[in-house]
Amino acid sequence: MTEIRSGRARATAYVRPKQTSRAVRYADKAADIVVTVGGLFVILAVAGIMIFLVQVVVPLFTGGSLNESREYTLQRPEGASLAILTDDTNVLAVEVLASGKTRAVHLPTGTVLASPTIDLGGQKITAFSKSIRSDDFAVGFADGTVRFGQIGTRSTLIKASDLPPNLVRLNDLDQTDGEAVFHRRDAEQFQRTTFSVILNEPQAVAPAGRAIAQLDYRVGGTVERPTRSFLTKDGDNVLRLTRAETRVNLLTRRETTTLESATLPAMSGSGTIIGALMTAQADQVYVARENGEVLRFDTRDLGVPKLIETRRLTADGVALTTIGFLIGEQAIVVGGSDGSVNVFFRVEDAAAGTSDGHTLKLAHELERQRAPIRAIAASARNKAFATADATGVIWVRHSTSARVLMKLGESSRTEVASIGLSPRNDGVVASDASGRLRFWAIDIPHPETTLQTIFGKVWYEGFPEPAFTWQSSSGNDEFEPKLSLVPLIFGTIKATVYALLFAVPIALAAAIFTSQFVHHSVRAVVKPAMEMMASLPSVVLGFIAALILAPIVESFIAAVVLVFIALPMSLFAAAYLWQLLPPASALRWDGLPKFMFMFVVLFSGCWLSYAAAPGFEAVFFAGDFRSWVNGTAGSGRPFLVLLLLPAGFLAASALVRRALNGAMRDRVRQLGRTRAGLVDGLCWLLTLVAGAIVAFVLAYVFTAAGWDPRGGVLDTYVQRNTFVVGLAMGFAVIPIIYTIAEDAMSAVPEHLRAASLACGASPWQTATRVIIPTAVSGIFAAIMIGMGRAVGETMIVVMAAGNTPILDWNVFNGLRALSANIAVELPEAVVGSTLCRMLFLAALALFVMTFVLNTIAELIRQRFRRRAVQL
């Protein structure tokens, strides 16, 4: 004691320092940081997936943005403005005036550049028309002549070293030689932009002295055989249509032009003609009157132009102020004096009573502007267009999405003279009579998408009515991509439903059997084998499904259909036969031998369906399944009997059970096992027969009522169809559902099972009344997780589903799923394009769908686990 008190130095043993060594502390601290940062990083990365997808998708819905707006007050022009055009980099705008003068303006600065005057020989232009997509234009004169030509801007790339000397600087990027604009592209390249106009010799169309008041000019046909058509209206309201077809002789290279001309029939009624439109093939002519009436002529046969219909396209008391085509010439935009802007399609409608079976229908009603519409400028790339009203306000709109993309300008007194939408839809120019020139640089990356166009029905040109359509590309330039996700979501759901219809019964039944009726040594083999199948690459399943399974199913379709009936039937029959065994043998062969017998029954069932298939096909499908399912052969009645058989059987067995209840049951119990089994089997057979009779009667009644099982779920057979997809995808999903359901049932505490068995319940009663009710939430979670996998499955649907985006439930037709669509189209999609973003949206939709499914499943599963522990 004293020793210790006297000093520490005398301690007998070595005392470890009480402090943790520095290295350990630092290691601990470092590990702390690394683990925390790393863990949080992964969690963030995972959350980042969703955020990233959303961020890519959002621009689809944000509409347009105004980058800059400029306003220049220039000298008052000589003569009325006919048109205004810009080049595709928005550096040069050119206005064409009735006097033949032109005015070129450098848009970023408002500098007026020198521009050629069109030599008209002293005449004044009375009518002007330019095609939407090309530089072709036509002008009409007071003396009844028409001249054609090309007008537009020309751009060439030149090297910096080739720049001409003495250029005047316009701004940081642009220089000019007084006429052309040199726009810097990068360090080495400049783009030279000039305005050019070519005018051909005049052609007399109207009688001399009759001025051309309206003109519409189109270039159509092919490159080898171009057709030029124009429609003129002279001062006497006589409409004349002329079509010139040029053929180039391949040997002599000589061009021959044939001219055909027709005068449209005189129109009844009155009203000033506001505009006249004509399609490129010159087969339809539309004449719009101020009172809102549009007259449609059929001019396919130029010899006899016919008036087809006269329809009022504006509301009562509203005057029609402008009319114009959008590209593709299927949609007509009509502007009214009340500021209304509506888009009409010519659609097929037999009920309309017109002689060509078509009529004009209002397809899109767009938001109304505040003042009468004065001008329309259609885009050369898509269905966007700009409308200017009487107060000078300009709205940029999109026909298909019925959206107002931009609202430009403020209302003022001066009316707009002409407006133009730049070739890339990224700028709008407007000039007015006072000499004011306005320019807006806009950016509308995705004008065609709204939630409505993606998830709702959309009326596209050429369709008789609004529809859900996915068609993202085509060879045609004027093609409008049709991007509705609905057919794809439908395809995903269809594939999932059919796959689960196949997979869920098999997987759950197998899981129940494995967990309740099989020796654990069998389970120890079967379960890991099934689990391993879950990691089978789906590309392999897809390949087998498409190249092996699909042809087999196609050639043995009757046998395959029969298997679905024959297998359960032969299993049931075998079970009833098994009951006839003496109890001793039944006990001895219980377990593995019985399981082996099941395999035997399975194989004989399959063989039976193969052997009986021709007869089955002859009785139920009129000898040929494929023509039966088309609806071209046989009647639906025999198959209806088959469909109603389960219902009939259930009804009959309910009746039998009720009739045999009580006394009969007790008596059967006393018979002894074999004889009781015999009675039971006979009873089953009788019920089956009774069920068949019920089904037969019902089928007669239904057929008499005109109901046919074909059409709808059963229809025309295609080789790569949903049935095959269902089988293959079912095969992919079975292991997952099986494993999770089996886990859930095995997790039911053993004492529950033991208690039930101890109370005298048979294993079957224990399974149905104790185990399954306890595990039901786990089983449900298994189905949900299986569904999640089926929804996202890609390769099987890509390979075996035929990839047709259609909306029908037909098992024997293909489908296009969200996942397959992404896999097929994303590699070809241009980065940042609408299609690309739509595919990201499809991925987001898939992500959300599976995330919701899995979250529900996970929550249910956790609850089940907690409950199982409590039990």
Partner: protein, 577 residues
């Protein structure tokens, strides 16, 4: 019911007693049991059938099949191995054109007849590889010993006879069925061909790579300093002699290749099909002679293993339908390896964080559910994310900063093996997290507490006590992740897999591992050959073998996971308190 029991208790007792002795058949639910058992049996049969189908086709593909020469009723002959046969419904118009007795026979069979798919080969002569021959058109069949199937570099196999082989203008003596000494001559021709290829691909490739490197160096300087900067001019001047040297080198090599080609063209072979149509070509264009009707079992086995060797070690030919899959195996392997290198640390770190460091509460529960769910998010979604985020966003930025001289052709800004493995790492990280967490939670609390009570720090406890015991679980998770990653195709289609990669992601040029390169993959190979090739019938055997390889790979990984788990588990048995 209560009244019944009250008024007639003796009855109820009697009924109960009777029930004990009676046999209630419905209680055992025999039919339902059979239905359940049938479902399990069906599942097993489906799986076994599937594996058997793949395995059988995969194993049998390379075994040489006898060449059958068929004489048709119209007098013509065709020859080739029989691929398969099937029953088919004779189309009505064809049926009508047949002689009446044949018609009657077919009618007796219910309008069905048998037909065989013959691999007639000789695509350059016939414009088709395969022909269905209905049995009623066959007049006679034989297996002539001198018919040979020749695998060629182009146009698919040739089925026919060897007319003549000319070596350097000297014809070889006829033999039976192949000319004598053909083996040696053929080997020489093939060696020469290999040499040409080595020069054209290897040596000239190196020269081209060097020239390109110089060009890029100059371009980088240009971008940094402007085109007329003195350093650029200096670099250009400095590169001149080097370029000239490389060009001469190129010319020498090209001349050598030309000489070899001319030499090669002097050794030719003339083939004739069964109809006598002849076709001459260079001997080196034929890769293998298979006199299938004249082979002993040993010879057949030789061909069989030779074909396996080619399959595993060679590059693909003929739009991937022939040759080997070595680049695909290599690509799959490298990608999976890189994926594991990424996924292992991050997966384990996250699981450690969730289980050992984070405060267990509502938020961690939510995170855990989300991580679990991510395992169920479709792989294609990861693919979309991978291409959008990794390739376009990250890769695009890398290109702008470091590879500006190569723009506009992207370096990292497009799909590549790095992005593919990162995408798959993201896809499989939930698997690893879940497995690791489970393994960590299985380490008994008592062990941890014991360690902490002995004075170990948290990290020491984790490092020396928890992690070693959790290792089996972690390994299992990793291997399962590998198995999943190796079999995934859909996301790879978006982030860098190609049908034919010109270069492997590893080669002899600095920096040896090219993470930006696109690569080939076994799974995509299956999709490509099965679906995108000119003739899916020609590719089918190849697809089956590839499928077998892929499934085998994945099953081996799964098995390894199970074995490792069991072995390590045993090691720690009894190590609990």
């Amino acid at each position: 019911m209560t009244t019944e029991t009250l008024t007639a208790p003796s009855n109820a007792v009697a009924a109960r007693r009777r029930r004990t002795f009676g046999s209630d058949v419905s209680a055992s639910g025999e039919p339902a049991q059979w239905a359940l058992g049938g479902a399990l049996a069906l599942g097993i049969v489906l799986i076994a059938g599937f594996l058997l189908l793949v395995f059988w086709n995969g194993v049998a593909t390379f075994f040489p099949k006898p060449i059958v020469a068929l004489t048709l009723t119209d007098g013509s002959t065709i020859a080739g191995p029989i691929r398969r046969s099937e029953e088919f419904r004779v189309p009505p118009n064809e049926l009508a054109s047949l002689p009446p007795p044949v018609q009657a026979l077919i009618r007796d069979d219910g309008g069905m007849a048998e037909r065989q798919l013959i691999q007639i080969g000789n695509f350059d002569l016939y414009n088709e590889d395969f022909r269905w021959v209905p049995s009623y058109l066959v007049a006679g069949a034989s297996r002539p010993r001198d018919l040979v199937l020749m695998e060629r570099l182009e146009w698919g196999p040739f089925v026919g006879r060897v007319k003549q082989v000319v070596e350097d203008g000297r014809p070889l003596a006829d033999g039976d069925p192949l000319p004598t000494g053909l083996d040696a001559v053929h080997r020489k021709a093939r060696d020469r061909w290999q040499q040409i290829r080595r020069i054209e691909r290897g040596d000239i490739g190196v020269v081209n790579h060097d020239i390109d490197g110089i060009r890029l160096e100059v371009r980088r300087l240009e971008l940094r300093h402007g085109p007329d900067h003195e350093r650029v001019v200096a670099a250009r001047r400095a590169a001149e002699p080097e370029l000239a040297r490389l060009r001469t080198q190129y010319d020498t090599l090209a001349a050598e290749a030309r000489r070899l080609r001319q030499e090669d063209a002097r050794t030719t072979i003339t083939l004739a099909d069964t109809g006598g149509r002849e076709k001459s070509m260079r001997l080196s264009e034929i890769t293998r002679f298979v006199p299938a009707n004249d082979l002993s079992l040993l010879g057949a086995l030789g061909v069989y293993f030779d074909r396996w060797g080619e399959f595993l070690a060679d590059e693909p030919r003929e739009a991937n339908t022939e040759g080997g899959v070595m680049p695909a195996i290599f690509g799959t392997f490298v990608m999976t390896l890189m994926m594991v290198l990424v996924v292992a640390p991050f997966g384990v770190l996250t699981a450690l964080y969730l289980r050992e460091y984070a405060r267990q509460g509502r938020i961690v529960a939510i995170v855990r559910i989300s991580v679990n769910n991510l395992a169920g998010v479709p792989s294609i979604v990861y693919g979309v994310f991978g291409v959008g985020f990794f390739a376009y966003l990250v890769g695009g930025s890398i290109d702008q900063w470091f590879y500006a001289e190569r723009l506009p052709s992207p370096t990292f800004g497009t799909g590549g093996i790095l992005w593919a493995s990162l995408t798959l790492a993201l896809l499989t990280v939930p698997v690893v997290i879940v497995a690791t967490e489970e393994a960590l939670s299985a380490v008994p609390r008592s062990v941890r507490e014991g360690s902490l009570a002995c004075g170990a720090s948290k990290w020491q406890t984790i490092k020396y006590i928890v992690l070693p015991r959790a290792l089996p679980g972690i390994m299992t998770g990793l291997i399962l992740a590998m198995a999943r990653g190796a079999g995934e195709v859909a996301p790879l289609m978006l982030v860098g897999v190609v049908k034919l990669a010109p270069e492997l992601p590893m080669d002899g040029f600095f920096p040896f591992i090219h993470l930006e390169r696109s690569f080939m993959h076994l799974g995509f190979h299956i999709y490509d050959v099965g679906f995108q090739s000119r003739n899916s019938e020609a590719g089918k055997p190849m697809v089956f073998v590839t499928t077998m390889l892929l499934i085998g790979l994945i099953f081996v990984m799964n098995l390894a996971a199970i074995v490792i788990r069991n072995r390590l588990k045993r090691k720690f048995v009894g190590a609990q308190f």
